[in-house]
Symmetry: none
Subunit: 151 residues, 2 copies
């Protein structure tokens, strides 16, 4: 915790500081958050970013094994986008059995750091989130089984 925060790590004091919407005519980002979201939207991107941040240069295969359930297509695709967006750097060693690894650029590293609080939040509230999800899932399952219920 730091003393000078850009944000409002204020107590239950309600209402965060007035971060007004930026009606700028740039690419049309409504605010910083919006800009960030454009870059990390993608099912696996935050995870990839975070993983590479932890392990430093990571080989494709290792990444694939680490990010469970990701397919080659997806992993490659997201990796390419992250690369195009200047967040990760791809290094091809041009060796005979292919050897490539991915690392973060400074920009990527800073973004990964901004991701930390989200990670912490998830860790701290995981039980709560899991519970809420179960409720939601079971209720929707019931809805499906019974057809629809009207009022």
């Amino acid at each position: 915790m730091s003393s000078d925060h850009v944000g409002p790590t204020v107590p239950p004091e309600e209402t965060l500081p007035p971060t007004e919407i930026n009606p700028s005519t740039l690419p049309g980002f409504t605010c910083g958050l919006d800009a960030t979201l454009r870059v990390i939207s993608g099912k696996w991107k935050p995870l990839i970013l975070y993983f590479v941040a932890q392990d430093g240069p990571t080989r494709y295969g290792a990444l694939r094994r680490a990010v469970r359930d990701v397919s080659d297509k997806m992993l490659i695709q997201q990796l390419k986008e992250l690369e195009a967006d200047g967040l990760v750097k791809r290094t091809d060693y041009k060796e005979i059995p292919p050897r490539v690894d991915y690392s973060l650029t400074p920009l990527g590293r800073s973004l990964a750091e901004a991701l930390v609080p989200l990670c912490s939040w998830g860790t701290e509230n995981m039980a709560e989130v899991a519970r809420l999800f179960e409720e939601r899932d079971t209720s929707s399952r019931n809805l499906r089984r019974n057809g629809q219920l009207s009022t």
Copy 2:
């Protein structure tokens, strides 16, 4: 390719997938970040969360005007999910011209705070992000204009 097999839509029936992961018990979060992402994935959710965090109880109409380009359908939908996930609270005043407002639950408030660094990151790197996006967009546009791949 065999000439006797062209079935595109094969009803997989109940071929009990070899998936050992049981989603019915725990959502199977791989890490905190994963858990968080399940809750805020949605084009407008982080934005909604952030706006409501800033403005305190916010009426539907105000929110809609604040989050630009969002449609009624989307806004309502995401709001409902956020509510189901225990992040926002909906208050219906049951008045004749409909009057409803949305506020954050403590959980929602804490998540909104975890979002702050992302917001800052975006603000700080907005120019950079905008630049990279322009590059990417123009190059892909050129690819499209100059012809497709394969036939």
